[in-house]
């Protein structure tokens, strides 16, 4: 049976997320962007919602079951508030969820519980590399076997909270395949570079990272020396970003509607002009369409459906274009005011473009 109604539990979570996104994130977002700092208490409050904890089974100290769909619903709700804060709150997901999805039983037992404790801690992941055609399935960072150890060498960028990371999941190429490696934050040969400056999400602390003969035990390879598949992890990145893109787009869309219904032009409201009204109609249509495709991909992943990975990619790919279209139009509808930093639409437009480059920055 088709159904488009969230469960009661999901709805409760969504309501809590909405209160946080509207009441806490949104009011703090401009100041965070300008000062390039996410207030720790904002992150803590988001962490207290227990979104990650609720997707971890009791055996690993959580209190729920993993669901991509529930995660996607929450991610959209958070990103509606602000993207940088969302990525901040959800950074530990980047470390925990791949272990949950692809790690060995031993790794799950030892690495997950410390992360999902009461307090938000900087556990993160390093995937992205500084090439224009960056491909998670063809990494430049290399892992080489040396006896019982593994040596990691390479250069990563856009690593959230790398400067204070307790541990990271570093992705590297091992014999032609991308694999995840658990690396302690204080590992020798690991050097964190300068804070990175990007087009958007200024508040999100991103760092470059150098790995020079970083030595870890072979047992720290995700799922041990047998290795693991990347497909589920890749799909989770895709769905998370698609959901967040929908959240960002929804924010811009609603803001543009409110503005257009308020602003007078030639004796009528801007929204009464078809040139504007039609833009809004297309924005609303494409947001809903992208949301449904994202939900479907998430649902397919939860149900273990054939082609779920492909659908996750389709959802993400569609969302990348949709969010750029919507946020660009929101700026356009506000006209000159859209270009001024007094309004948030210029921020959302800059954040919107990022989804094309954010693979690996979010997981659900």
């Amino acid at each position: 049976m088709y159904s488009f109604t969230p469960t009661e539990e999901q709805q409760m979570l969504l309501d809590a997320v909405k209160r946080y996104a509207e009441g806490d994130i949104r009011p703090a977002s401009r100041e965070a962007e300008e000062s390039t700092e996410l207030p720790p208490e904002l992150i803590e409050k988001g962490w207290e919602l227990g979104i990650l904890q609720a997707s971890i089974p009791e055996a690993y100290a959580g209190f729920g079951d993993y669901s991509v769909l529930t995660g996607a619903l929450a991610a959209e709700g958070l990103a509606y508030g602000d993207l940088a804060a969302t990525l901040g709150v959800m950074t530990p997901n980047l470390f925990v969820l791949p272990i949950l999805l692809a790690g060995s039983e031993e790794q799950k037992k030892s690495f997950i519980p410390p992360v999902i404790e009461m307090e938000w801690k900087a556990y993160t992941a390093a995937l992205i590399e500084p090439t224009f055609d960056f491909d998670p399935q063809a990494l430049e960072t290399k892992a080489t076997q040396k006896g019982k150890d593994i040596l990691l060498n390479g250069e990563k960028i856009y690593v959230p909270y790398a400067s204070e990371a307790q541990a990271l999941l570093v992705y590297a190429d091992l014999d032609g395949k991308t694999q995840g490696f658990i690396v302690p934050g204080d590992a020798e040969g690991l050097s964190v570079g300068e804070r990175q400056k990007t087009l958007g999400i200024h508040a999100c602390p991103l760092y470059s990272l150098k790995l020079e003969d970083v030595k870890i035990p072979a047992g720290n390879q995700l799922n041990g020396p047998d290795g693991h598949s990347m497909e589920g992890i890749l799909a989770s990145w895709h769905v998370a970003l698609a959901a967040m893109a929908v959240g960002v787009a929804q924010a811009a869309y609603e803001y543009a509607i409110d503005y257009a219904k308020d602003r007078e032009v030639f004796g009528v409201k801007v929204a009464q002009k078809q040139a504007i009204a039609f833009m809004l109609a297309e924005m609303g249509t494409d947001i809903e369409a992208t949301r449904l495709l994202t939900w479907e991909a998430a649902w397919m992943l939860d149900e273990g459906k054939e082609e779920a990975y492909k659908h996750a990619f389709l959802a993400y790919s569609g969302a990348v274009d949709m969010v750029m279209m919507v946020t660009d139009r929101a700026v356009q509808i506000l006209g000159g005011h859209g270009y001024i930093r007094e309004h948030p639409v210029e921020l959302w437009m800059r954040n919107g473009r990022g989804f094309a480059a954010f693979t690996g920055l979010a997981m659900v």
Partner: protein
């Protein structure tokens, strides 16, 4: 709980209809396209027999008979009649969108009767579809001077109090399957006319005119870009008299536009169905492209960065995304209709999206397939022509955008023209 699992009965429906599409539609597609106005009787007879065997007389979902078994478990099952119709229409249109429009039984006309008619009217007009012969219906709304602007229609209905009959006068154009409803079978058309031209929208009502009624005449059969198997006709009403009981809705003109709005609500159900037809044509075109690429050994790589994709890969993936998005909007619109939720917004969204997507996908497919796309040796060029109608009838893409815009902005027609 959110779920995208297609209900099992619908999976079965799709399998059955797919067989029809493959065996009875595709093989005669070209023939019927090149011989406009030839009637696909083999398909029509088959569908008539088949739907009768299934116990369903009408494609108007509210009128489809419910299973009579008193199994309490079964009663709990959520309604899926509109969703079933969507699957049927999508699959039949995948076979051939023109032939699909020749499907006998209740269609748009029946939908209008079903939405606004009394139980007595439903019985009178809808029971005919289960008879021996295949019967058609049609909706006559558009006039030479009134297309999307249905409030501008000038066909009049005047009550002759002596005989208690309505007298209709006017001209209707672009009536889909009008010839089948009035000439090729003993069907009926639903005509939109004004009780009072001064009253504007609030004076507009719909009326049922049965085949054989004097004063109602098919005057022209259009020659079209596509969907050539389906007839599109002009109808002249000249002192056409029908019984008083043939009016759908209230016979008096009130100040409110309730009657007009009621009629417009029919669109909430029919627009996603047109969207479904568009999706079927688009899927046919996309599958053609995918097959030809596979034959040529071209693999589409999913999941790689765009910077590494070929142009062809990007285009095909974009087509898939758009098609799936439009499909999901349509499913949701009809799921809401089945669950009696107000769906005007998403119904129009689905029509906007599907109409556009089908047009773009078929046009793109012809481009990507180069000389093969342009050749009449294949059906792709036909689908390119067939698809375009979906962005035009049952409300153009622009009118549907207007409906969406008014909805999201909370504007009335006077505030957003």
């Amino acid at each position: 709980m959110i779920s995208f699992e297609m209900p099992k009965p619908l999976v079965q429906t799709r399998t059955v209809v797919e067989t029809v599409a493959k065996n009875m539609m595709r093989p005669v597609s070209r023939q019927l396209d090149e011989n406009e106005h030839e009637i696909p009787w083999a398909y029509i007879e088959f569908m008539h027999t088949a739907t009768k065997a299934l116990g369903s007389s009408s494609m108007a979902p509210d009128e489809a008979p419910q299973k009579k078994k008193e199994d309490p478990e079964k009663k709990k099952r959520p309604p899926i009649n509109y969703q079933r119709l969507m699957i049927m229409v999508e699959t039949l249109s995948w076979g051939d969108a023109g032939i699909y429009l020749c499907t006998p039984g209740g269609m748009l006309g029946a939908a209008a009767v079903s939405a606004a008619g009394t139980p007595e009217q439903k019985k009178r007009f809808l029971s005919r579809f289960t008879g021996k012969e295949p019967i058609f219906d049609a909706m006559a709304m558009t006039e030479p001077q009134a297309g999307s602007d249905t409030s501008a229609i000038r066909t009049t209905a005047v009550l002759d109090e002596k005989t208690n009959e309505w007298i209709l006068n006017g001209e209707k154009i672009f009536v889909t399957a009008g010839n089948k409803a009035l000439v090729d079978s003993k069907g009926f058309i639903v005509v939109w006319a004004s009780l009072d031209l001064e009253a504007g929208r609030s004076g507009i009502r719909s009326f049922v005119i049965e085949a054989g009624t004097p004063g109602c005449k098919v005057t022209k059969m259009e020659e079209k870009l596509g969907i050539r198997a389906s007839d599109t006709v002009s109808i002249v009403l000249q002192d056409c008299r029908i019984p008083f009981e043939n009016i759908l809705g209230s016979p008096t003109v009130e100040k409110s536009t309730k009657g007009y709005k009621g009629a417009m609500q029919t669109f909430d159900a029919t627009r996603p169905i047109v969207a479904a037809s568009a999706l079927g044509v688009a899927r046919a075109a996309l599958e053609f492209v995918q097959e030809k690429l596979a034959e040529a050994g071209k693999e589409i790589r999913y999941g790689i960065p765009r910077q590494k994709m070929t142009h062809l890969e990007r285009e095909v993936i974009e087509m898939e995304i758009q098609l799936r998005q439009a499909w999901l909007l349509t499913v949701k619109a009809l799921w809401m209709a089945d669950n009696k939720q107000s769906n005007a917004l998403i119904a129009s969204m689905s029509k906007v999206k599907a109409g556009k997507v089908a047009t773009v996908i078929t046009q793109k497919a012809v481009e990507l397939m180069g000389p093969l796309g342009y050749s009449r040796d294949f059906l792709l060029e036909k689908w390119f022509r067939d698809a375009k109608i979906n962005d035009i009838f049952e409300g153009t893409g622009q009118i549907n955008l207007l409906v969406v815009a008014r909805n999201i902005l909370g504007y009335r027609g006077s505030q957003l023209r």
